[in-house]
């Protein structure tokens, strides 16, 4: 289990990226959902030992992730949001290199591990290609492969599917789902709701450096059951409805505004029909509540 307590980080530019964040992350896949600039990457970097927080604590199975970076690095696997690879090395050379850095020195063991990793990430056919010629999806899968080396107890995956096409995203979801084990925490930061709904057993919503909610996706849906309504109305009517209803989202479709609103207990107006809550509704509900309270 990963415990985070009152983690704070302010950059020298004055941007307060994290404001006393506290989270308990159980084993399994955990989604950290938030818009760009919410502080997700800052939190991921701190957990991956690449950034010093101003204050606070993070510990995993008794190891202090902030104070004891050398021990932490032995037990984590990290896939950053933005990363490069040495373009002149082949995929195989790259994985062997990372395996050696992770302490897998036995040649036979390393060979077997690298073979299995290539099979796992479906890159066996490209193992002798230079990574400079890889597509974004292939490089991302190679990134996952290096993060899985050495049975990490904490796998940190930062915005892994942004920029991937839908097909590659689905392949990547499957790959991430396979990495989940009972003994490891996989923390996945993303701004894509479907990444969380497809993969995570628990999630937290982060915005402006603060955790707004920490729930399971099912709890989130249950909380909104019977409260979400949907209607397609003209643009003029939509403006009028916005002042009367608590709007979750509004999208233009076929010349009409497709609105989703929240209303507990009663139908907001006759145009609205009951809708099945989705995770996005929960996100907007939490964010709206936060904005109203502040």
């Amino acid at each position: 289990m990963l415990e985070i307590q009152k983690l704070t980080k302010t950059y020298s530019s004055g941007v307060q990226a994290l404001r006393e964040i506290s989270l308990d992350v159980p084993n399994g896949m955990f989604g950290l959902l938030g818009p760009n600039g919410a502080g997700k990457t800052t939190l991921m970097k701190i957990l991956a030992t690449l950034l010093e927080p101003d204050s606070g604590m993070a510990a995993m199975n008794g190891i202090d992730l902030i104070g004891d970076k050398e021990s932490t690095r032995k037990m984590i696997g990290y896939l950053p949001q933005e990363f490069g690879l040495y373009p002149t090395l082949t995929a195989e050379q790259t994985l062997h290199y990372f395996a050696k850095l992770k302490g897998v020195h036995d040649k036979k063991d390393r060979g077997a591990l690298v073979d299995a990793l290539f099979e796992r990430v479906n890159l066996a056919g490209a193992r002798r290609q230079r990574v400079g010629g890889f597509s974004g999806g292939m490089r991302q899968r190679l990134g996952v492969a290096q993060a899985l080396i050495g049975q990490p107890q904490l796998i940190i995956v930062d915005e892994p599917t942004a920029g991937l096409d839908p097909e590659e995203r689905l392949r990547f979801h499957n790959l991430l789902a396979e990495t989940v084990s009972e003994n490891a925490v996989v923390i996945l930061s993303t701004h894509i709701v479907s990444d969380v709904s497809s993969l995570c057993s628990r999630m937290a919503i982060i915005r402006e450096g603060q955790i707004l909610a920490s729930v399971t996706p099912r709890q989130a849906m249950n909380e909104l059951a019977g409260s979400v309504w949907e209607a397609s109305v003209s643009r003029e009517k939509a403006s009028a409805l916005k002042s009367r209803c608590q709007v979750l989202s509004s999208q233009m479709f076929d010349g009409l505004a497709r609105m989703r609103v929240i209303s507990r207990g009663e139908r907001p107006s006759e145009e609205f029909n009951p809708a099945t809550p989705i995770l996005e509704d929960y996100y907007f509900e939490v964010v709206n509540q936060r904005e109203q309270s502040s």
């Binding site: 984590i76 990290y78 690879l85 850095l101 591990l113 990574v131 689905l170």
Partner: protein, 601 residues
């Protein structure tokens, strides 16, 4: 009439100046040039020359343009990468999708960077100009003047560097590799001297003037044989031959830029992905992105369920020296592989070997005290310049490569110790420089045999290269790495390293060889010193002092490296990575200081 500042050319020009104005290195460069303009007045005081005489102004600009302060190298740093930078940062599609022509883009980039270069150079001239007012009592000053400063600056420095800039810019842009340009800048000195000695000297004096790209011989001939009065009243005038020379240089620059215009393509090259492989997954969208989940079931059909591949259990070892040595070897292997894939090496290594051995290949060598000693001594002196250049460029590049390729987060989150990651870069550069020394040695021996200047005494080569060159290479690799880590900015490191070396070599050329500021023992040893002469023990002690200094530098680099480490010097009663750095730093500094005192530094 359209405001030139609002044309695409004007906008790119201004942006280039703006980008350069944020580089600290350029300000350091200006300070360096200014301080040298002051420093150089010591020669004027010594010889009784007025510091604002036409002769003195033109002479100083001549030396400045020739590159006593490393100006060709600085010009390469500024001019090599304006376009490469756009491609590296991925700004190129944003620029090329705007209504802008190739010519506007290239000229805006070129003249923007050249303007910045000229501004840096102007710091030297402006300081000379100001010295007329802010001079010391020992300086001889003629009535205040302004025009000669601008006239000679334009004709001697600006026009000469227009050609340098055009060549560097063209090569950097077409090759998309700044290191090839740096290599070219490095070989400029031997190339220019060879051009003067081998070609120009054999031509009639008129052609000598017309074909000298730097117009180096502007001013009176043999100035040291003239009286100060004569020189102070001498007016430097530009003959038709000199003006033709300047015109020729401008035309050559134009030809260079024309070739660039014809060859430059704004479309992406197929092989480019291999040079710069950066994966940027940020969508840049500021808002919340929602992808409807209903897409997914449709796509699910395309994928067949496959069996989960189980990863084998492997034993891992992080503790102990052998585990860390294995990690160091792995990192060194990758660094060497990356170094060997550098295209610039294909140009630089052969040229370094050729120019290091040029002296012994084409001129007769006196057997003092033996042919082998003389051959090894000559090539050791010539190789030093290349050791310097290669170490500076490849060390700095190695340290900044990981950040540039955005591989740092992957590497730094691994359980490898700091010293394995850092030392691998130092060792890779060292392998390269020692490889150069060995190759120069082999070629020199071959030349000695071919010229029938036998017998070959291997011991002479081993003694000179082993005592002088190899410790110098180790010291340079460590010192440059420490500087890179401490300064962090790549261009600032180039500026400080090249500036320091240029300043020191200027001092050596003026006869100041004090061992305190001559760690590489330039021009202070003879073969008899190394062959057990009276100063052998002193030289040996200085070498130990140098090695201790190198290790102290590495400890410093290890201590200040940006990768976050465990806090404090001790954890669980054991030294942390920083603790080891501090302990090693103290030990090596003590050794360096003690041995330094023994040597009499």
């Amino acid at each position: 009439m359209r405001n030139p500042a609002r044309t695409p050319f004007g906008v790119i020009f201004q942006n280039e100046v703006l980008l350069n104005s944020k580089r600290v290195a350029l300000y350091a460069l200006m300070i360096f040039f200014s301080s040298n303009a002051v420093l150089w007045t010591s020669a004027a005081i010594h010889y009784g020359w007025a510091i604002n005489s036409d002769f003195y102004i033109a002479r100083n600009y001549g030396g400045f343009a020739f590159g006593i302060l490393g100006l060709p190298l600085f010009a390469a740093v500024i001019m090599a990468d304006p376009v490469i930078r756009d491609f590296r940062l991925g700004v190129d599609p944003l620029i090329f999708s705007k209504p802008i022509s190739r010519a506007q883009y290239l000229l805006g980039k070129f003249f923007g960077s050249f303007f910045v270069l000229a501004c840096c150079q102007a710091a030297f001239g402006l300081t000379m100009l100001l010295l007329q007012v802010l001079h010391t009592p020992r300086m001889l000053v003629l009535p205040f003047r302004v025009f000669p400063y601008f006239k000679h600056f334009f004709l001697v420095v600006v026009v000469s560097y227009l050609l340098f800039a055009a060549v560097y810019f063209t090569l950097g842009t077409l090759m998309r590799n700044a290191k090839i340009v740096y290599g070219l800048a490095l070989i400029y000195y031997p190339l220019y001297i060879a051009w003067q000695v081998v070609i120009l000297k054999r031509l009639p004096p008129r052609w000598h003037i017309v074909l000298d790209p730097l117009l180096f011989n502007v001013g009176p001939a043999r100035p040291f044989e003239r009286s100060p009065d004569y020189l102070n009243n001498f007016v430097v005038s530009y003959t038709p031959g000199m003006l033709a020379n300047r015109l020729l240089v401008i035309l050559a620059a134009v030809a260079c830029l024309t070739i660039l215009y014809l060859r430059f393509a704004i479309t992406e090259r197929s092989g480019n992905a291999e040079k710069i492989s950066v994966l940027n997954l940020s969508t840049g969208a500021a808002g919340f992105y929602y992808d409807p989940p209903r897409i997914e079931p449709a796509l699910q059909d395309h994928f067949e369920e496959h069996e989960k591949v189980l990863l084998p259990e492997v034993s891992r070892s992080h503790a102990g020296i052998s585990a860390n040595v294995n990690q160091l070897i792995a990192a060194l292997g990758v660094e060497l592989r990356l170094l060997l894939s550098e295209r610039s090496l294909i140009v630089i290594m052969p040229l370094a070997i050729v120019f290091s051995t040029l002296d012994v290949a084409f001129w007769s060598v006196a057997p003092e005290p033996s042919f082998s000693a003389a051959y090894a001594g000559h090539t050791a002196n010539a190789t030093l310049l290349f050791l310097l250049g290669i170490t500076i460029f490849y060390s700095v590049e190695a340290l900044h490569r990981d950040r540039e390729l955005k591989i740092e987060p992957l590497l730094w989150s691994q359980a490898a110790p700091n010293y394995a990651l850092l030392l691998s870069k130092v060792l890779a550069t060292l392998v390269l420089t020692i490889g150069l020394i060995v190759l120069v040695g082999v070629v020199t021996i071959a030349l000695q045999v071919l010229k029938h200047n036998g017998p070959v005494e291997l011991s002479a080569y081993l003694r000179i290269y082993g005592t002088i060159l190899i410790p110098n290479a180790i010291f340079l690799a460590a010192a440059i790495m420490a500087l890179s880590v401490l300064l962090r900015d790549r261009y600032l490191t180039y500026t400080v390293a090249i500036g320091t070396c240029a300043g020191l070599f200027y001092l050596y050329s003026q006869g100041h060889h004090g061992w305190l500021y001559n760690p590489m023992l330039v021009q202070v040893w003879t073969y008899s010193d190394l062959a057990g002469g009276s100063r052998f023990a002193q030289i040996l002690a200085q070498r130990i002092h140098l090695m201790a200094g190198a290790l102290a530098g590495l400890s410093l680099a290890h201590l200040f490296w940006r990768r976050p480490s465990n806090r404090g010097l001790l954890t669980h009663s054991r030294l942390t990575s920083s603790g080891w750095s501090v302990a090693a730093l103290l030990v090596f500094l003590t050794v360096a200081f003690t041995v330094g005192l023994m040597v009499g530094l």
